[in-house]
């Protein structure tokens, strides 16, 4: 029995998502909200297993909810559900700690499958997202980027870099598993690791920035 948070402002879509979620996770308890503010309050109050978060909301971006969940409930799987498929929108969400993303307009079967996969620990990774992640970690590895004492030195292992590279070239995860001689599950684990490192690194950077600007409380 899962506790699920649903954040979506269009009522029809919300209804449709609710139907979908109940199909994938029958008997789960779903909390709906249409505004970022409500979702944040809910996140502070209720313990969730899964959160489906829309990015474009009338009173802000869903990324704030992702950040809040990561702060107070790190074990919650936040999944961003959005129209946008470009890394401009998705990357900040992943940096904030999103576990995966789902594109809204896909057919029900696909979304169902993706949702199941995510809940089983297999987050999706598109080539453009992979490129963006690679660029991020490459920029971080440059010596002048970060003062030495400030951040935990989060960088990718060679394996992780390899996985990213192949995803960027367009190979699917099963293919990569075959190429590297690893199981699909292991590859999925790598992807999860990559996202986690991305989140950790991004949060540390944000904290440092806030400290620099005197906003750290």
């Amino acid at each position: 029995m899962k506790t699920i948070l649903l954040l979506e402002d269009l009522p029809e879509i919300r209804a449709w998502l609710r139907k979908l979620v109940l199909q994938v996770f029958p008997g789960s308890h779903i909390s709906e909200s249409a505004r970022v503010q409500d979702a944040i309050e809910l996140a502070a109050a209720v313990r969730f297993d899964l959160a489906l978060i829309d990015l474009g909301l009338p009173d802000g971006s869903g990324v704030a909810v992702v950040t809040k969940l990561r702060d107070v409930q790190p074990d919650t799987q936040s999944v961003v559900v959005t129209i946008h498929d470009d890394d401009e929108h998705l990357f900040p969400a992943l940096q904030a700690g999103a576990f995966g993303y789902i594109l809204k307009e896909q057919p029900r079967e696909l979304i169902t499958e993706q949702l199941q996969r995510i809940s089983q620990g297999e987050p999706p990774l598109s080539p453009s997202i992979a490129r963006r992640v690679m660029a991020y970690f490459t920029a971080k590895s440059k010596p002048q980027a970060v003062p030495a004492n400030a951040l935990p030195n989060v960088s990718l292992t060679d394996r992780e870099s390899e996985v990213l590279l192949r995803v960027a070239k367009g190979y699917t995860l099963p293919e990569i598993g075959v190429q590297l001689g690893l199981s699909r599950h292991t590859i999925a684990d790598y992807v999860k690791q990559i996202y986690r490192k991305l989140n950790v690194s991004s949060r540390a950077e944000a904290a440092l920035e806030a400290q620099r600007l005197g906003l750290f409380r």
């Binding site: 080539p127 453009s128 367009g170 190979y171």
Partner: protein, 661 residues
């Protein structure tokens, strides 16, 4: 060295044509060359005459020795004062040694004196030689009578004496007038007492006389004339010319006022030197002497100021004192009266010379202290010491009354030094002008560079600004599209009863996303694009149960424009959709190659092929026609080969250089 022609000279790396600086440099160089030529031209006659005279006199001397007909030098004469037309025979004649300096033998005497000498003319007359009388110096003017007949008059003897002090005289002794046996030569000399003249040079007197063959004496006369007259004339001309040039230069350019003072000094000295060769000045004697001495006051003023300003010193009190002194000098002469001219003038000469010497010393000391290289110190030091030495010799000569050759040379030293100094000043001036011109050109060049840099920066910034504004606009359009249109389409997708409508709405949403991408997207690396396509196509085929095989080169460096990327994506999506929906294939291979600057994509499936009827029934906007149209829009082409049992081959070719625009 001729000035380089403009179009042949190598230009410095700048857009600024250095024509103005080059022409100015050329002008200065030409002016300096012209000046040099002028000086040389002025000196040339003098030099030529000197050379000629020396050449003439040289072989004459040995000839005189071999002929054993020496000239007779007369060192004694009878002298008697008198104004009459002939030697006074009243018994007042007395013997006197020659050369006779009136300041010594009869101080204070001015007027006319008669001298009488005698000679025997047997030897040379018998040989048939012409005789002549050579008088090295007769001051101020003279008449020569041979046996009572006038044979030479130096000019005006009565009202305004012709100034013959510095001109050696040669009186021919016509054979017709010569008697066998003793002959008598009477010389009438008119002169001024020393008191009334400014210099010993112009005090009355008569030098030793020489009687001898005219050929020898003429050569001697010519030689001495050159030294006494021609050379100073040439120097005067040169000095006047140079002085005028310098004065104008200094007058125009206030920062080089030393040149103006030098010009005044030069012109002044040219006028003063006229005393040596000008025989008939337009003034009376007293006035001429007065003017000559007064001029020296002005010359000293110019010299002192020149020396100080040349060393870049300026003493305000001198700016007042020197003109004052130059005014006081004539006043003192007037006050003293023409009878006391010599002592007052001598005193002033001493004073002025000391002042100039002091100024020279200050100049040298200051220059030695400030000048950088040793080479630039020596010229002025040498010049000034030469002038000082000449001055000392002149003083000694004045004081002792002797006029050795050294004194003659010393007299010419000052003008020559002035000429040399002038040339050096021109050289320095030219060089300073050149360097200032160079730095001006450099400055201009730098200003141009800076301006160009500013302009290019500004251009860059405004381009960037435009880009930023455009991008912001596009992002805003994209966001609006996503928010409004996307939301509505999404609602249709998930709430429609009809599967077909949902599919259409979904495809519309994907199209919208792609269009926005084409609108806002930056160019895409071909390697990245291939990765995106591979992921999408292979996964879609896999979901449809079709085995996909993808072959493409890795790490291609080319880029695609956003529009080309979007259109190619549409083509590939269309092709994949067709394969999934209509082909019934189980295997599909996709191969990408780069050949001859073209991007080539070949999709081959093992399906049923496309029959012509099926093509017509596909929805508008889909099908082969739309793929071909899209490819043509990218200046490429899309070929389809198909047939039942053969499968379908789609060949897409896109030129890469066009696609990157």
């Amino acid at each position: 060295m001729p000035c380089p022609r403009l179009h042949q000279a190598p230009l410095p790396p700048t857009r600024l044509s250095p024509r103005s600086s080059r022409s100015l440099r050329c002008a200065v160089r030409r002016a300096a060359t012209a000046l040099g030529f002028a000086c040389a031209l002025a000196l040339l006659p003098g030099l030529g005459t000197v050379a000629q005279a020396l050449a003439d006199s040289a072989p004459a001397a040995p000839a005189a020795a071999t002929q054993a007909a020496p000239t007779a030098v007369v060192r004694g004469a009878l002298v008697a004062p008198g104004d009459g037309p002939a030697f006074p025979n009243d018994g007042s004649a007395q013997p006197v040694a020659l050369p006779d300096d009136w300041a010594v033998t009869r101080p204070g005497f001015g007027g006319t004196l008669w001298y009488r000498i005698g000679f025997n003319a047997t030897g040379p007359i018998a040989r048939g030689d012409l005789l002549a009388l050579y008088i090295a110096r007769a001051c101020t003017n003279l008449e020569v009578h041979l046996n009572g007949q006038l044979v030479l008059r130096g000019g005006d003897m009565e009202t305004r004496l012709t100034q013959n002090c510095n001109h050696p005289q040669l009186a021919p002794l016509p054979t017709a007038l010569i008697q066998p046996g003793p002959n008598v030569i009477d010389i009438r000399v008119a002169g001024f007492p020393l008191n009334k003249v400014g210099s010993r040079l112009r005090g009355g007197g008569l030098s030793a006389l020489e009687v001898g063959p005219q050929s020898l004496l003429a050569a001697k006369h010519a030689q001495q004339t050159v030294l006494n007259v021609a050379v100073p004339q040439a120097l005067s001309a040169t000095l006047a010319l140079m002085g005028g040039f310098m004065f104008v230069l200094g007058f125009i350019n206030r920062r080089e006022s030393h040149l103006a003072y030098f010009g005044a000094l030069s012109i002044g000295w040219a006028i003063v030197d006229a005393r040596l060769w000008l025989r008939e000045p337009p003034f009376s004697h007293a006035l001429a002497e007065f003017l000559l001495c007064s001029l020296l006051g002005l010359i000293a003023w110019a010299a002192v100021q020149f020396l100080l300003r040349y060393a870049q010193l300026r003493m305000r009190w001198l700016d007042i004192a020197l003109p004052l002194q130059a005014a006081v000098l004539p006043l003192s002469l007037v006050v003293a009266g023409p009878a006391q001219l010599y002592p007052v003038a001598s005193f002033w000469y001493m004073l002025l010379s000391l002042q100039v010497l002091a100024a020279g010393a200050v100049h040298l000391r200051h220059q030695w202290a400030t000048s950088a290289s040793a080479a630039s110190r020596w010229p002025m030091a040498l010049l000034l010491s030469a002038v000082a030495v000449a001055g000392v010799i002149e003083f000694l000569a004045q004081w002792s009354g002797q006029r050795p050759l050294a004194a003659h040379i010393a007299q010419l030293v000052v003008p020559v030094m002035v000429v040399l100094l002038g040339l050096r000043l021109v050289q320095q001036h030219g060089r300073a002008l050149q360097s200032s011109e160079d730095s001006r050109v450099q400055l201009q060049h730098r200003v141009r560079e800076a301006t160009a840099e500013i302009e290019s920066n500004y251009r860059q910034m405004s381009e960037l600004k435009v880009e930023q504004v455009t991008e912001r606009e596009r992002k805003r359009i994209a966001a609006d599209l996503h928010d409004d249109l996307g939301a509505k389409l999404l609602t249709i997708v998930h709430t429609s009863e009809s599967e077909r409508i949902s599919t259409l709405a979904r495809e519309a949403l994907e199209e919208m996303r792609l269009s926005v991408r084409g609108l806002t997207g930056k160019p895409v690396r071909l390697a990245d694009a291939l990765g995106d396509w591979r992921a999408e196509v292979v996964s879609r085929l896999a979901q449809a149960g079709i085995e996909g095989e993808w072959d493409a080169p890795e790490d291609l460096p080319q880029t695609l424009s956003a529009r080309a990327y979007v259109q190619t994506t549409r083509i590939l999506r269309e092709a994949t959709s067709n394969i999934i929906k209509h082909s019934g294939a189980t295997h599909c291979s996709m191969r990408c190659t780069i050949a001859d600057g073209d991007f080539q994509f070949v999709v081959q499936d093992n399906g049923d092929g496309i029959s012509p009827e099926l093509d017509g029934r596909l929805d508008r906007g889909h099908g082969m026609a739309s793929m071909k149209h899209r490819a043509k829009q990218l200046q490429g082409q899309c070929l389809v080969e198909s047939g039942p049992g053969y499968g379908t081959v789609i060949r897409l070719t896109l030129p890469l250089d066009r696609a990157t625009e």
